[in-house]
Amino acid sequence: MKKISIIIVYLLSSICLVWAGDDSPTVASNKTAIDLVQSHADYVWTLVAAMFVFFMQAGFAMVEAGFTRAKNAVNIMMKNLMDFSMGSIVFFAVGFGLMFGASKTGFFGTTGFFLSDFKVGGDPWILAFWMFQAVFAATAATIVSGAMAERTKFVGYLLYSVFITGLIYPVFGSWAWGSLLNGGGWLEGLGFIDFAGSTVVHSVGGWAALAGAMVLGPRLGKYTRDGRVKPILGHNIPLAAIGVFILWLGWFGFNPGSTTAASKDIAMIFVNTNLAAAAGAIMAMLVSWMKFGKPEVGMSLNGALAGLVGITAGCANVTPTSAIFIGAIAGIIVVFSVLFFDKIRIDDPVGAISVHGVCGAWGTLAAGIFNIGGTTFGILGVQLAGIFACFAWTFPVAYLLFKLIDITIGLRVSKEEELEGLDSTEHGGNAYPDFATINHGTMGEFGGPSGSKYEPSPSFASKKIVDPA
């Protein structure tokens, strides 16, 4: 008992000593303390948001896998793993400097490569900022994967992913967002509004996806000779749906996190993000119901994503009511856009071009139209300039890149490999070894179980990795 009271007395006196040692608080010292708390909160919020955005990689992987055939699921997991992994390294080495380095021209940055802005013992904010921007860069890269699914050579895809995170995305990003750090782009100088990246991230990914899908051509059997669309069914709609839910969740980091500051602004951005997604899903469902007679699941899932992409530019500068309109219109646009690209025979298995490219453009325009501070033809003109600049930079460069890959190492797998599935031919694996997979009616005139026009070529026989004989 005596010991305990001695300890208590000792503790109390030591606390008094600590108090006595402190200077009494002043206005200045209080301000420093408050600033410190704010700055810590900024770190936490930015990095938590980065975690959400990182999780979107899982969402993209599940959407893509669900909307495609079981025989390519391993390939899709590998593409999604590698575009993030390679993208992280490339963005560290090159992309971040191009995007946020000091820029004399306004067209690209020239400092900060290899994260050289970080000095040991220096301000670690650069690290938090880099992490948040790295997951964004990877998002732009991974959008393209879906549009090119089921027929792209793995090596070609790896090479592409280096160039989108190392060149295409950061250069456009520097035009619109460079001043968030050391840069300063010509587009943001005009007053371009794109808070979280309808254009910077999603349209860049979407237009690169368009270029990729065009250079590749459609999957075998997707379009018949008489001009009809022959759908190639996705193998797991619940997987695609969970992917959409993960993306929706991830967007709560993507949009509100783009404050890169713990502020009260995030509340409205959260609400806008959610309302736009909901409105997009509802409208896409209604349009598909009216057009096809049934509420179709693929279009409805795309509708939620369309709403999310649509609100991304304006999430911080439109009202919640406007967010509903923006999302609803995106949900309508996406259905007609998917049908349009099918009509002109650009095969996009997951609808990435429509969701990210087209609805990204719509969202960017909508951020000007529904601007809380009012809109002018000047604002709309700048928004249109940004939309156009994004297409004019991304599409030709990506098209050229894909063409070059196609000519040199090849962008598309052989016909035989495509029919066999990329899992066994590209990776020597099988996503579902314990399940039998029966395809009915998806290969049609190009061969497969019912067509029987397909004869394995000698070169294919030697390439085959799994040989039962």
Binding site: V229, K230, P231, L233, G234, S288, K291, F292, G293, K294, E296, G298, M299, N302, V335, V338, L339, D342, G351, I438, H440, G441
Partner: protein
């Protein structure tokens, strides 16, 4: 002895199995199969494009029985599997030469 092969609607499996159990048929093999007859397939929609599913899912039941039981079994299956709508399925009957129980080497009726 005969093999009775019945192709029925998948949701009728339990009813048919219970009905057969009530007339002392205590063994059968079932598999999930796809096919079409007069029912043909039906149209579905995927991402805005219509397609025809030619093969409809069915369950195939195989039962080996003594000749004397054939009529009973067939009537029981019909009674349990019938909905009266197109696609109820078909029953095929084949002669069965021999049956052997692997565990005991019993043959013929003893092995049933």
């Amino acid at each position: 002895m005969k093999i009775i092969q019945a192709i029925i609607k998948p949701f009728k499996v339990d009813e048919v199995k219970d009905a057969l159990a009530s007339i002392n048929i205590n063994g059968m093999t079932i598999s999930e199969v796809n096919g079409f007859g007069r029912q043909k397939g039906h149209k579905e929609i995927y991402r805005g494009a219509e397609y025809q599913t030619d093969f409809v899912s069915k369950v195939e039941i195989k039962i080996a029985v003594d000749d004397a039981q054939v009529d009973d079994v067939v009537e029981t299956i019909i009674a349990a599997a019938k909905t009266g709508k197109i696609g109820d399925g078909k029953i095929f009957i084949f002669p069965l030469e021999q049956v052997i129980r692997i565990r005991t080497n019993e043959k013929g009726l003893d092995a049933l």
